[in-house]
Symmetry: C2
Subunit: 80 residues, 2 copies
Amino acid sequence: MKAIVYVGLKPGVLDPQGRTIAGSLQNLGFDEVKSARQGKVIELDLKSENAEAAEARVTEMCEKLLANTVIESYRIEIEA
Amino acid sequence: MKAIVYVGLKPGVLDPQGRTIAGSLQNLGFDEVKSARQGKVIELDLKSENAEAAEARVTEMCEKLLANTVIESYRIEIEA
């Protein structure tokens, strides 16, 4: 079973990486870029067989390690 | 218009970040984790009005700046 975790900065949290990307794109002539934000995707390969139980466990992984919940939010997708 | 770009290492390319994540999760007691891979998501806010034209431009952005196509692959999603 696969789990895909998307971790991104919460709205309002300053994102210097995103700002650099937007600035660089504009410098390259991509004037249509208004802003950019960068997050991460973590793809987990799991031994679990039960999707619901897997989601609960992956939520625990996010809270404990994968996301810094003070400034980041996360979203989980489970694939069979 | 919004564009979401997913950038990940191509299969076969060593992913030390992903390996560290998998190891740390296992150390925390999440024994069901077989492996992990980490990628990035870039969310772009665009002035463009035409989805097809926007996708072509974002592809160009990926080739020029957002992805290192030697070792990374990318996927683009356009949201109205």
